[in-house]
């Protein structure tokens, strides 16, 4: 799964997810893509699940691009532990997604296959998405 090899700081603050994606909001590589229409955190597990869904549906024929990277560490406290003792440990890595962000791109397959694959990948994600085509 995707995860940074090393980071400057171990833990991060939550931050805010305001506004829309101003970068990475257009198809840059493939002919079809999956674009987020709402904001949210996409974990590295969800990205991997989406990638597998795409790869298996197209039977390794086309080419896939993953346009997001889980660079934000999420922490959580162990179960049944009293408050205090500092911030919890890093449990997962997420990509912060804003509306408009292209999550996956695909090329080299028929339109029908691409649309089915992207729809399957969309089921694996925690944000609402739409399928985008080049030139549309």
């Amino acid at each position: 799964m995707l995860q940074p090899a090393r980071t400057k700081y171990r833990k991060a603050m939550r931050g805010r997810m305001r506004g829309q994606a101003t970068r990475g909001n257009q198809l840059d590589f493939g002919a079809y893509g999956l674009q987020a229409t709402e904001c949210g955190y996409v974990t590295n597990r969800q990205i991997e699940a989406g990638r597998r869904a795409l790869t298996r549906e197209i039977k390794r024929r086309g080419k896939i691009w993953i346009r997001i990277y889980p660079e934000k560490p999420l922490t959580s406290r162990p179960a049944e532990v009293r408050m205090g003792g500092g911030k919890g440990e890093v449990t997962s890595w997420v990509a912060v997604v804003k509306p408009g962000r292209v999550l996956f791109e695909m090329d080299g397959v028929d339109e029908a296959v691409a649309l089915t694959a992207l729809r399957l990948a969309a089921y694996k994600l925690p944000v609402k998405t739409t399928i985008v085509r080049r030139g549309a």
Partner: protein
């Protein structure tokens, strides 16, 4: 090649408040620059959206019919179309007015034509570059340049120099720019988790469920 037409009206509305009001009324603010003084105009959103979709990002000659003040026809090419983050609405359009008697530099879409031999054998046709920079008269700008890829085997490629240019069109892109490649089918990638840096290792090693000693509340006496 069919001529593209668009009707426009000069606008007095400038500034974000007035321009937003324009957009609410179903119009798109635009600007024309180039040969003469820049002119701010407004366009019907439906008509211009249809045109932008039709252009596919290519630069083609458009006849802009300006009504009202400064009425007349202008020969323009679409330079930029700003859209919202979801790409669903046009926010602003830039047109470049040109002299149709002088050659211009434009980029044109390149499309593969036919099914490559390598694709029939299980390869994948990859488009490396979708556009080519060309020089031609505005009236000779092709809608797209079709490239015959039927002879491409697995591992074969087509470069810019191999693309047959229509008459009156000169190639400006680098001759060795790769356009299409037929690659062998990819294998299932096994994405392995990279080695976590030493700074994260102690955190991972910490046993869950163990409370830190300093978290214990001090007993009240």
């Amino acid at each position: 090649m069919t001529e593209l037409m668009l009707e426009a009206t000069p606008r007095g509305e400038v500034g974000k408040g007035r321009v937003r009001k324009l957009r609410r009324q179903g119009e798109v603010p635009a600007i024309v620059y180039g040969l003469h003084e820049p002119m701010v105009i407004k366009l019907d959103e439906r008509a211009v959206s249809k045109l932008v979709q039709q252009l596919h990002g290519s630069e083609r000659l458009i006849r802009l019919r300006v009504q009202g003040e400064g009425a007349g026809d202008k020969h323009v090419i679409l330079k930029d179309a700003q859209k919202n983050a979801l790409g669903t609405r046009l926010l602003h359009v830039d047109f470049h007015e040109i002299d149709i008697k002088k050659t211009i530099h434009v980029s044109v879409e390149v499309r593969p034509v036919g099914v490559a031999t390598g694709v029939r054998l299980g390869g994948i046709l990859q488009t490396v570059h979708r556009e080519l920079a060309i020089e031609c008269l505005p009236t000779a700008i092709p809608e797209f340049i079709g490239v015959d890829v039927t002879a491409l085997p697995i591992g074969g490629s087509i470069h810019a120099k191999d693309v047959a240019m229509p008459e009156g069109v000169r190639l400006l892109s680098a001759a060795d720019e790769t356009m299409f490649v037929v690659a062998a089918q990819m294998k299932e990638e096994v994405v392995e988790a990279p080695v976590v840096a030493a700074e994260l290792a102690p955190a991972a090693a910490a046993a869950p469920g163990v409370e830190a000693p300093k978290a214990e509340p001090a007993p009240k006496t």
